[in-house]
């Protein structure tokens, strides 16, 4: 049985609430029978997207909110992170060991597919992973 989709909307883009959201997403992923290594990638990429929202999307104003939806399809898991602020691509730091800008690199490397679409209304990050179609019959 596939679990109900994960839906968590209107979460403040602040450190403590984003940690709680990460724990809830991890619990949902593990309840779906996803193996630990995939679960780690899923939660890391999702958290980096959330951290980018906290860092950039609501720069200069009060903390905005973020919506997270995750769905387990046959053979595929998808996480969608939506914010209503202004996504900013981090300015690259040209020094060899730069301090910033690794979040997006981790996000892209940890997901099988990552799509970031930015518009006037905010940004939608869609992450997906290919899974064993029948993870619990092995």
């Amino acid at each position: 049985m596939r679990p109900e989709p994960f839906r968590c909307h209107g979460v403040p883009a602040a450190p403590a609430s984003l940690r709680r959201l990460r724990h809830e997403l991890m619990a949902w992923v593990l309840a779906g029978g996803i193996d630990e290594s995939h679960a780690g990638d899923i939660v890391l990429a999702s958290y980096e997207a959330l951290a980018n929202v906290a860092d950039h999307a609501y720069d200069g104003g009060e903390a905005g909110v973020v919506d997270v939806d995750a769905t387990l399809h046959p053979g595929r898991l998808e996480v969608v992170i939506t914010d209503h602020g202004q996504w900013r691509t981090p300015v690259p730091d040209p020094r060899p060991v730069s301090l910033r800008g690794r979040g997006l690199l981790l996000l892209r490397a940890s997901a099988d597919r990552a799509d970031i679409s930015s518009g006037d209304q905010g940004t939608v990050v869609t992450l997906s992973w290919d899974l064993d179609p029948v993870p619990d019959v092995r």
């Binding site: 450190p15 403590a16 984003l18 940690r19 990460r22 290594s37 780690g40 939660v43 890391l44 958290y47 980096e48 951290a51 906290a54 060899p96 060991v97 730069s98 301090l99 910033r100 690794r102 979040g103 690199l105 981790l106 490397a109 940890s110």
Partner: protein, 118 residues
């Protein structure tokens, strides 16, 4: 390694500290994310202020690690001599982000503290 951490900043992370000759060995346990990374940075700063020749950060008890933690390590790397910062990791939770981002080119990743010290 002594379990006590006199004079290090208070943090939600469980921290251990010990000298091994001129090398400082800092052990951290817990989740390093947006909540705790600033505190992790303060602890690393406090250790660097003691002037170690080498810093070994033991991340084996860390259960979550992301770019916020990498930023603290990159900052520490810049303030030490080349190859003077090492990390101890036996899990992809912590070694994965270091390798994925190529930071392991500058910061050695070792399975044990003893191997990090050699």
């Amino acid at each position: 390694m002594t379990p006590s951490t006199p004079d290090l900043p208070a943090t939600e992370l469980a921290v251990t500290f010990a000298w091994r000759g001129r090398a400082a060995v800092l052990g951290v346990a817990g989740e390093i994310d947006l909540v705790s990374a600033p505190e992790f940075g303060e602890v690393v700063d406090a250790v660097l202020a003691r002037g170690p020749e080498k810093l070994v950060v033991d991340l084996r008890e860390v259960t979550f690690f992301c770019s916020a933690g990498l930023q603290v390590l990159a900052s520490a790397h810049r303030r030490l001599a080349e190859r003077a910062l090492c990390v101890v990791s036996d899990s992809p939770v912590t070694s994965g982000p270091l390798r994925t981002t190529g930071l392991d080119t500058w910061i050695g990743v070792h399975p044990t503290v003893d191997e990090a010290l050699t």
